[in-house]
Symmetry: C2
Subunit: 205 residues, 2 copies
Amino acid sequence: MPQVTQVVKKSSTKDKILKVSTTLFSESGYRATSVRKIAKEVGIRESAIYNHYKNKEEIFLEVAKGIFNSPFTKEGLDIKEAALKGKVFLQNFVMQYKLLTFDKNNENMFRLLMIELFQNKELREQFMSEFHDKNIKMLSEAFFVMMQNSLIRSQDPMMISYEFLSTLFYIRLQVTLMRFDNNSANILSTQFEKHVEFFWESIKI
Amino acid sequence: MPQVTQVVKKSSTKDKILKVSTTLFSESGYRATSVRKIAKEVGIRESAIYNHYKNKEEIFLEVAKGIFNSPFTKEGLDIKEAALKGKVFLQNFVMQYKLLTFDKNNENMFRLLMIELFQNKELREQFMSEFHDKNIKMLSEAFFVMMQNSLIRSQDPMMISYEFLSTLFYIRLQVTLMRFDNNSANILSTQFEKHVEFFWESIKI
DNA sequence: AGCTATTATTAACAACTGTTCATATATAAT
DNA sequence: ATTATATATGAACAGTTGTTAATAATAGCT
């Protein structure tokens, strides 16, 4: 008789609380999401929540953790080498970004980020360092390599990184807004590719 | 004896409620701003609020009205003529946008917009039509004229309008974030000019 | 002056908030 | 089977929420 290896899942309730909270927080924000609402959705009484989390704030912080550990900067990737591909590198970057934008889970996280950005100082700082700075740094590195190899015109790498990233962010915001109201984001979907095309034409030699 | 013409201000309390509410809403959002907090700041009891506004929602809607009637599209301006100036037109546009970004009142409105964007469907629609569409339409018109007059390369006016506007939005978001935490936005301030420079080089003939 | 309309106050309401407590039930270890 | 631990329940707390009603003070008009 084959032995079935059973994964011991320790307290699936805690996971469920986190999952439910993520959805609710990203739909209505921190304030409008009550502990009772979370408990009800999980299927327990509100007091049982406190067996798993110290308080509401702790749940939120746990949820917020997930916002920035996106599969963005793939660790295995060697930027300097990848950047040699020039336009293809940018296309890949945007494709990753696009996948993120249309991924249900990341969509929730992005919405939560937008909602709480001006309510939570820590989140603001994380947005600046984890989202903005990290991406600018990575892109700058890539653009620098491209300049060294005469793939693109010489100019401030940080500046063009900023130009490149900002449009991606704006498209993402618009897509997320549309999809929140169940509107089709098909038209916007091609905007990503258009952006790479335009941008590459602007910087290439 | 010279007769002093006195301006009759009818119920300054109502104005004060609106002013205080704008600040509070833009600092903490709709939910976290209680009627009592507004009343206290105005200097009256909470029940007196209801002599001026039907309910909390009505106050918010009144505040929200101010978000999009920004002095953006100056009515007197003839786009087609202004667009003939090419780069200077873009510089003027960005200067206007920059002024808006650093104006205390508009800063509050922008923050409020960001906070409530995912909480209020009407606001979302207004953002799309009043902010995005309106600006894209205006810019497209200008770029079209520039193409006709061989000031810039021929390409989809809507697409390059999108490229132009998205970066402005992102800079504005960053500036507003920094200033909210009383951080200096000096470094970002020049980003506006850099953007025009880069963009013009990208599209000019 | 007195009358009227406006705007203020005080008090109360019902509903909801985050959290705690004593207690019951289920699960795992001995 | 007994014990210990983890997780559930129900009830209660003190505070806050939006809103209303009765009533008092104020200002403008005749």
